[in-house]
């Protein structure tokens, strides 16, 4: 394996002999420590420097303990779960796929049941605003809703002409987080061929 760092800097700017000696001494090399002491007898500043380097080793020892604490808190995951990478790389494709998945959910049989239940509780609400607010509150409680996109997007407006005011058409968007057992990707089969749907399931990369 090649070291990704270049080693040119080492030859161009070598450490001083004293630095190498001090480095060895603080790393526990007895012979180097003895040599530093001999030099210190003639030049006390060498011993001062040794003291400071030893203090730095204590700093590094603290870092060691902290890093070990951190490392020991991370265990191997149970299985392959590189969700973040896979989704990050997919970008817009994932967004489109999620939209498709969402649409497929809308047309699935489960929707009818959901509509029925909404219909069942509808009389409790005095207005669509109230129903919407109740949905937001419930979805937040369930952790489905992250928030509402504000301000709403204005599509257009016109004066009603009967003195009642203006008709304003807006898009209100909410940010939802859903868990889907699988998602779909539409890909062309060839340069001019028909598109096909790939099913993406967790823990297997691509399954037709």
């Amino acid at each position: 394996m090649n070291d990704p760092q270049t080693s040119d800097a080492d030859s161009n700017d070598p450490a001083t002999e004293l630095d190498v000696l001090l480095s060895r001494a603080v790393a526990g090399d007895g012979a180097a420590l003895a040599e530093v002491r001999v030099r210190g007898a003639a030049d006390p500043s060498v011993l001062d420097e040794l003291t400071l380097w030893q203090a730095d080793e204590l700093r590094l020892a603290r870092v060691a303990r902290e890093l070990q604490r951190t490392a020991d808190s991370v265990d191997a995951p149970r299985s392959r779960s590189r969700t973040r990478e896979r989704w990050a790389g997919a970008g817009w494709a994932v967004a489109a796929v999620l939209a498709i998945a969402w649409l497929m959910q809308l047309v699935s049989p489960g929707v009818a049941a959901r509509e029925a239940s909404v219909a069942g509780i509808a009389p409790a609400f005095q207005s669509s605003e109230e129903a919407f607010d109740a949905y937001v509150a419930k979805a937040r409680e369930e952790g489905v809703l992250s928030g509402e996109v504000a301000p709403p997007t204005l599509l257009g407006s016109r004066e009603l002409g009967d003195g009642r005011g203006f008709e304003v058409v807006i898009i209100r968007q909410v940010i939802e987080r859903r868990v889907s057992p699988e998602i779909y990707r539409i890909t062309p089969a060839g340069e001019s061929g028909p598109r096909r749907t790939l099913i993406i399931r967790p823990r297997t990369d691509l399954v037709q």
Binding site: Q5, V63, A76, R82
Partner: protein
């Protein structure tokens, strides 16, 4: 440097490379462990990970951009090990491969948007320090951890070329020979980098202490 000075503290992940040739049994055990891990056996994977995660934390700390949590990056490396361990044919190449994975994880993190957010948080902490406010860890009475974090920040300013061997030796107890083997450079190069790394750290600490007085 005399590598034996660190023998008591050497990381078990490097035991194989430091062991005399008269200990083939242990090497065989490690090879078998790796083989089981490569087959996806959970307990073997866990053991391989635990044997390597501490020195990997040192590598990540040396290469991670400022403000990135080593813990997050370790998670990424652990996931890659689990996901791709079966691609490695030679157990001897595991450490080198893991190091490359760790460095790539650190580089990827540098490009991510999350770094900007975390860097902003670090900036806020720095601002707090400049104005005499203390890090939350210190407010909890955990001075030891705060000091470690401060030193780690200083080391983060060193070029990885110097920070990595320094952390591997000082923080993880690896010998020069082990570091040279991991970085695939001569021992003399490691010795020079260690000396320069320590000198640079000393100058930064000196500058910091000069500011404080």
């Amino acid at each position: 440097m005399d590598g034996s000075a660190h023998t008591h503290n050497q990381h078990r992940a490097f035991a194989a490379s430091d062991r005399p040739a008269s200990e083939p049994a242990r090497s065989l055990a490690e090879a078998r462990l790796f083989e089981r891990a490569a087959k996806g056996e959970r307990d073997a994977l866990v053991e391989v990970w635990r044997a390597n995660r501490r020195w990997l934390a040192a590598v990540l700390a040396a290469h991670a951009p400022r403000g990135v949590d080593v813990e997050d990056l370790l998670q990424d490396v652990a996931e890659t090990l689990v996901a791709k361990c079966h691609h490695i044919r030679d157990p001897g190449s595991l450490r080198g491969w893991l190091r490359v994975v760790a460095i790539n994880a650190a580089r990827m993190a540098a490009r991510s948007r999350g770094v900007e957010l975390r860097a902003a948080r670090e900036h806020a902490l720095e601002h707090a320090r400049e104005h005499g406010l203390r890090h939350p860890a210190a407010l909890r009475g955990d001075d030891e951890r705060e000091r470690a974090r401060e030193t780690l920040e200083l080391i983060g300013r060193l070029p990885p070329l110097y920070a990595e061997p320094l952390l591997l030796q000082s923080a993880q107890g690896l010998s020069q020979r082990q570091i040279a083997e991991l970085l695939d450079v001569p021992e003399t190069t490691v010795e020079t980098r260690l000396a320069r790394g320590r000198r640079m750290l000393r100058e930064m600490v000196r500058a910091l202490e000069g500011q404080a007085t």
